[in-house]
């Protein structure tokens, strides 16, 4: 009977438990929360990218029916809240005091009895601005005539440069390049990755509810990291942390957009404290696209040194990072450029050096987000692009060049030239599987035939290495809090379990996958294990879900907590069966006496005994908690191959096929993994061909609504094909690595490589994303290839 119960362990495509409420429209998202007496907040935002605030007149707004209050920066300043710390050791204006730094910056917060009243109030606030010179080009940030954007911190940062960061062996790398200039090959490429927005379909928002009588603040919040948010609220607002409760209920997508703390949250909290009523603030889409945490905006200059046969030797990368007006990038504090130095990728570089200069500009703050694994999207993009350029320059097949340079399986654990220790990998296996699945040889033959007829077909490869699971507490912290994670399991007398975890799903299926982890360890059905998260009053402290860390860190904590439960169950079994622990064997769901399999106890019997017949030398009950400090990060990887056909009349790129082979180690739920891959690929397609936020010279935002910010529909999105290899992580308790961001990391360059590959024979080496039809058409026209 125990073996029958254990059907649903690791590797099962178990249907999701959380679906039940979502398919009925009974999810509980923040905007679904309605409390008695609840008020609504709406934000007055600056039309100017850079301006002094001469005067704010709220008198007309206060006369609007239903408007109860208008909070300004001056009001917040009295409580020391006009500025708040960011996750990158900078400060950010909550409501602008004397000046605005980006278009759509928050200037005032209107509180009304209805959404309509608050919106009308916003229209009635009168602000006098004196426009200042605008800086939108980070390359001009250090010019003599550039406006100083942050006079508020000029004592510690006298220019617009936020930081310079570097890593690697500069001397050895420079020497390797000198050698390659003389006797080998040096490839240089500039690449710009524009600013993009994660744009989950649910925007950001909160309901803040402060009760004076208890001093308790409850905030329903679109949060990917509720505990960290609680601690930050305590620090920023000066409220006692045990009286703050953050509830991240159902979250409609995150992708990094729901990691920062936004001014709207702080204002809603202040408004609730001031009015004594719950206050709801939900941003609209335009606000979301024009002011919340962005991703990318990296101006990259990459150089690669190889020998004449294509064996790579050294990588040298210089990046100019545009963080907007406040450095609010969400990453571990010791890594201002995130994990960008994974950029040696899947290849065995002997030398590497990377440096990043970060600048302020008159744009919204950020910018580590959009399913990026802390800048791994940027890193993987540059290496996969420059490897393809090397291949084309040498006249080598891009697959062959990669196979020639992959880190070999026997080299793991592999210490990269930039000091990461990769846990495991089988890069050749993944690439060969992708090539076989898509009939790579056949495609190359077809490409030649088509080229002879003037048809432009391209094949692009991306063999990426990811780095996730942040991370070992010694090096990884968010706002000082070490990046461990947690799980607490309680098994009830009648054999059902309740588990709470420190991470926060936004669609990743944790209620199912984490139940499966426990189910596998304890031999129970996932049906008998419910997983909760998101309420900081009940869930153990965790750092949240982003950068694909849930499975590597909280998943490990969950497995280990479950093993603690099993260990205690074993002790109870020994007691009940009157044997020593060493005489017991485990099969899923049951301990039995070695050599006497009929003599055993199921986990359910042991749970019951924990409460009714507990060994006198043990505490009663059956529960365990584990806080897991990972020993290392994990390194998922994969190979993607993309086939494109170009329309010579319009420049449109048609993706004919896309084969994605992923390796995320041991797979908990292949159905969930495949879904993550489909979604991540779509968020890789989007930046490659469609999405972009840009600013004109006056700092006006373009792409700030869904009419212009081009989220792919079902028509732009190809039918994704997926497969997998399995290379477990040797240090993870269940060998799992995490997968959520692999496809966003790996996909864009597969597409770009394909488009460039279609045009490489006429000398095209690079096209910056998004690859719009007119970018392609300009090339076609220039090369005499444009038709009708």
């Amino acid at each position: 009977m125990a073996t029958e119960v254990f059907k649903h362990g690791l590797g099962e495509p178990y249907k999701r438990k959380e679906d039940a409420r979502f398919i009925r429209g009974q999810g509980n998202y923040v905007d679904d929360v309605k409390l008695p007496g609840m008020l609504y907040g709406d934000i007055v935002r600056s039309p100017y990218a850079h301006a002094l605030i001469k005067n704010i007149d709220i008198s007309k707004a206060l006369e609007v029916p239903g408007v109860l209050a208008v909070i300004t920066g001056k009001d917040l300043d009295k409580a020391g809240l006009a500025w708040m710390p960011t996750l990158s050791a900078d400060t950010q204006a909550v409501l602008a005091l004397d000046r605005v730094h980006f278009q759509m910056q928050e200037v005032a917060f209107v509180v009304g009895t209805s959404r309509e009243a608050a919106a009308d109030g916003v229209e009635a606030v009168d602000i006098d601005y004196e426009p200042l010179k605008v800086l939108v080009d980070p390359k001009k940030a250090l010019d003599a005539d550039a406006p100083l954007l942050r006079p508020d911190k000029k004592d510690r940062q006298p220019t617009n440069q936020i930081y310079h960061w570097e890593t690697g062996d500069r001397e050895g790398t420079d020497a390797a390049f000198v050698e390659a200039e003389a006797n080998g090959v040096v490839i240089k490429q500039d690449m710009y990755i524009p600013r993009i927005m994660p744009a989950p379909i649910e925007t950001c928002g909160c309901v803040a509810d402060y009760h004076k009588s208890t001093g308790k603040l409850t905030v329903w919040l679109t949060s990917q990291a509720p505990h960290v948010h609680r601690t930050l609220f305590a620090i920023v607002a000066g409220l006692p942390e045990h009286r703050i409760r953050i509830i991240s209920p159902d979250v409609g997508g995150g992708f990094g957009n729901k990691v920062p703390i936004y001014p709207g949250y702080v204002c809603a909290v202040v408004a609730s404290i001031t009015t004594g009523k719950p206050v709801k603030w939900i941003e609209d889409r335009t606000e979301n696209l024009s002011s919340t945490g962005f991703g990318r905006d990296y101006h990259i200059h990459a150089e690669l040194a190889a020998d004449k046969n294509g064996k790579v030797n050294a990588l040298r990368v210089h990046t100019l990072a545009d963080h907007g007006a406040f450095d609010a990038a969400a990453q571990p504090t010791k890594f201002p450029a995130g994990l960008f130095h994974i950029c040696t990728g899947s290849y065995d570089f002997k030398h590497a050096f990377v440096d990043v200069d970060a600048m302020h500009t008159n744009k919204p703050p950020g910018g580590i987000a959009y399913r990026c694994s802390f800048r791994v999207t940027e890193a993987s993009y540059l290496i996969e692009r420059i490897m393809d350029t090397l291949a084309h320059d040498l006249g080598k097949d891009p697959a062959d060049l990669r196979l020639q340079n992959f880190i070999q399986p026997e080299a793991f654990p592999y210490r990269s030239a930039l000091d990461w220790t990769f846990d495991s990998g089988n890069y050749e296996g993944a690439l060969r599987l992708a090539m076989k699945n898509i009939d790579y040889e056949g495609l190359r033959r077809e490409q030649l035939e088509k080229r002879a007829k003037g048809e432009l077909m391209g094949i692009g490869i991306s063999s990426f290495t990811e780095i996730v699971g942040a991370g070992p507490g010694k090096h990884f912290d968010i706002a000082g809090i070490q990046m461990f994670d947690s799980c607490e399991i309680r098994v009830h007398p009648t054999g059902k379990a309740l588990a709470r975890i420190g991470v926060q799903t936004q669609g990743q299926g944790h209620e199912t996958t984490f139940a499966q982890i426990i189910a596998a360890e304890l031999g129970m059905s996932p049906d008998d294990i419910d997983v909760e998260h998101g309420d900081t009053d009940t869930a153990p402290y965790g750092l949240g879900t982003y950068a694909s860390r849930s499975t590597p860190v909280a998943g490990a904590a969950t497995a280990l907590a479950a093993r603690k439960v099993r260990d205690k169950a074993k002790k109870i079994a020994a007691y009940l069966l009157e044997v020593d622990e060493e005489d017991l064997e485990w099969e899923p769901g049951r301990f039995f006496v070695k050599g006497a399999p009929g003599k055993g106890k199921t986990i359910q019997e042991l749970a019951f005994a924990a409460y009714t017949n507990c060994p006198p030398y043990l505490e009663p009950g059956l529960e365990a908690v584990n806080y897991y400090d990972p020993p290392n990060l994990t390194y998922p990887f994969g190979s993607y191959i993309c086939v494109v056909d170009l329309d010579r009349g319009t420049g449109e790129v048609h993706i004919r096929r896309f084969m994605a082979v992923d390796d995320c180690g041991i797979v908990i739920n292949p159905m969930v993994v495949e879904g993550q891959v489909h979604g991540g690929l779509t968020q890789g397609l989007a930046p490659a061909l469609y999405e972009e936020i840009y600013y004109d010279e006056d700092g006006n935002v373009h792409g700030g609504n869904f009419q212009d910010y081009l989220i792919p529909t079902s028509m732009e999105t190809p039918h994704w094909e997926t497969d997998r290899t399995v290379t477990p992580s040797p240090h993870h308790p269940i060998g799992a690595k995490g997968v959520g961001e692999s496809p966003t990391v790996g996909a864009p360059q597969a597409i770009v490589n394909a488009v460039v590959d279609a045009l490489a024979h006429v000398g095209v080496r690079h096209i910056d994303i998004p690859i719009t039809p007119w970018k392609v058409w300009n090339i076609l026209k220039e090369k005499g290839l444009a038709t009708d």
Binding site: G703, P773, K781
Partner: protein, 292 residues
Amino acid sequence: MIPGSFDYLVANSVPEAIALLEQHGDDAKILAGGQSLIPLLRFRLASPAVLIDINRIGDLEYIQETDGTLHIGALTREAELDSSSLIRNRYPILLDTSSMVADPVVRNWATVGGNIAHADPANDHPATMLALNAQVVATGPNGQRTIPIEEFFTDTTFETSLRPNEILTEIRIPAPTERSGGAYFKLERKVGDYAIAGAATYVTLDEQGNVTYAGIGLTNVGPVPIKARDAEQSLVGQALNDASILHAADLAAAAAQPNSDSRGPAEYKRAMVHTLTVRALRKSLARATGGE
């Protein structure tokens, strides 16, 4: 996100709608499908004091071919064009057009009349109506008048020759003759977007295969919907072949007045007018000669 306040009135008949328009004058705006108007209201880019909802006037939803003319009621939803076998079989250019308006859900409410009367050069039907030499019927307090589509659009953006107390009630299109065919090609960045450029072409051939009628309309490449007259003229009396098609496309591209914006540089848009005109004319020829 939240519109300003307005008064809301329902018209249950055309005369009632006209009477309300007369009563409220400049303060009032007709609410048909609302798929263009309501977004403007939500962004407070338009703030009429009064909305007159005409969606209940069921008499204005019809697609009928009688006496050599296709009559489309102004309130006919794009989705009805999408699913009409009459349109698909005899007026496929209209299906080409309706199926490119916004997205399928919006098309359940968006109306053909609204798409034309809103006079947005980015809307799709104007170009097609120009190519088809359509007429619109305007109904006012003194009855109906028929306006040729060329006279319906003025040279000012978002302006038509509808009087303030008139509503558009019908669109009329000549029924196809034996050797006629048309097509609409719209290049868009993604489904749901306005056109980067669009070209509608319609030709009628005589028994020798020479063009007796050519209509060419362009979408979103100027301040108003554009009728490419020189291009049309260049085809009349000619055989429709690669040479004449390319020449007409050159002239159509020259007639475009595109701006550079987030949908592409002006030079690109102009080139796309060329490409789309070529493709639309080739398809028009195929449809006219029974190829499709």
